[in-house]
Symmetry: D2
């Protein structure tokens, strides 16, 4: 089986509750714990690129994600990302990369908060990355969207196909 690379960039997925300040913050990624919980047996390599809220993500950050996707040895890549700007990052990647299958996913509720969609989304992303043809996609709400046909409806908190 071909190895899958997972790039971690932060996002709601990995947020935790700081009980001293009452604020949300990032510590380390939970993706490895989530894969253990899912009894996942895929060969994966997890690499944390950054741990930020996607509203804070800069063009330089996106450039770094693009560069790592391009240079990674793997041709199948999952990226965990904040949902607010995941479509923007997907577009940056989609315009430049066409030889690899890249699936971006995120969560509406932190994994640690009990009622998270994270496990479900990570499952769909890892399945889509194994089966979709080369291209850049966003996996949310059980669906996959091509990078140039998706937006987040922030009012409803769901992803929609455009065009």
């Amino acid at each position: 089986m071909e190895r899958i690379r997972i790039f971690v960039t932060g996002g709601t997925f990995d947020k935790e509750y700081n009980e001293l300040t009452g604020e949300l913050f990032f510590k380390a990624t939970h993706v490895d714990d989530m894969l253990k919980l899912g009894r996942c047996r895929l060969p994966v390599e997890i690499e944390t690129l950054m741990m930020i809220d996607s509203l804070q993500m800069t063009a330089a950050d996106r450039g770094r994600i693009l560069e790592r996707c391009a240079t990674a040895a793997e041709s199948r890549i999952v990226i965990t990302h904040g949902t607010d700007t995941v479509a923007e990052t997907a577009a940056v990647l989609g315009r430049k990369l066409s030889a690899k299958t890249i699936v971006l996913t995120g969560a509406m509720v932190p994994y640690k908060f009990g009622s998270s969609d994270g496990m479900f989304n990570l499952g769909t992303a890892l399945a889509f990355v194994q089966t979709l043809p080369p291209g850049v996609y966003v996996a949310m709400n059980g669906q996959y969207f091509p990078w140039n046909g998706v937006r987040k409806n922030r009012k409803l908190g769901v992803f929609e196909r455009i065009r």
Copy 2:
């Protein structure tokens, strides 16, 4: 988007703890709750065929699942199933059905028990059913297996490719 049919047959997935007897039992399926938790927006139709431990599943039960897969209007079908005999049911379906994409999945730990792989597996199954070519598959451990190339390793509690 094409509608996906989900057939529920029971299995660990849907087991609950009876606090009066200390035993595990079946009440109703949790698949709809799980889809809500996953913020799933796929058009699905959930149909409970039976609620049994897969070690109790008879040839007649498998015949009924086969018949419902054959007659269902949908060409993409997910089946939740106990893991102990899911490969056996997959084989019954695989020998007869080739025009539909059918993905069987299950869980090692009940959804209600907190540490379940159910959300992850349901995510992978729903993604695989949208993207795999017609055929019958088992989705477990983040992977998909063709019906004639899978067995459960009961000692390790994982699924393995055979042949």
Copy 3:
């Protein structure tokens, strides 16, 4: 068995995660759900006085809590409260009320977030209110503190006895 009154004032206890904004907010109290989960069979009457972060609590709010404690028919009262100023509210009550057993409690992590101390604290508060002599107390960290001998150590996130 004597009825216990539970006054809800908000606090971390009852905070929820708003998945559209990524912020914490108050909806309704979870105290009734928590009592159900605890299989609690005490006769209780739950009354929501306010739903606020205790850092926002004004002298008028504390006056209202004091007034409701004084006029309530019950002589045993539990108050759920944000931890940041729970000692301050306890002092307001303690200086005026001496004929009732009043136990204030809270949580460091919201009940809904999985890793909450809320269930444990609510359990201790309901036990202390049944067994302690009249007076005003704070129940946190498994302990009870008299109103005039407690402070929150915000650096460590724990309560300490003073004097």
Copy 4:
């Protein structure tokens, strides 16, 4: 603060799900994890006496619990116990010991199963043991019962006062 001894005897409290066999079993106690989750800062000493279903508990087992309660240095003792025969063990202790405050508690649902009453019950037991006069008690459903005035209503799954 006086140190509290916690004797672990097993019971539903500490049961886990064996995902290879689908059966419930005992591994190690979760009481220390539960105290951490409750941010408990009481000085406690946890000692596992046995890890059994209380329906399997023999007179010899009860004799051992009695002996350890009698010889322990602490005068305040909490015992975690299966609910089915907790009243029987309480009676064995109650007839012999009158100088210490001993509180037995349990859970209807395993701590690991998400919907457990364990955290709540442990909270009440630790509070009661600090505040009740010497004697032997059962703490369940938010209440405390003297050892000679309690029975489990197995039909309803709750504890009742008798006499």
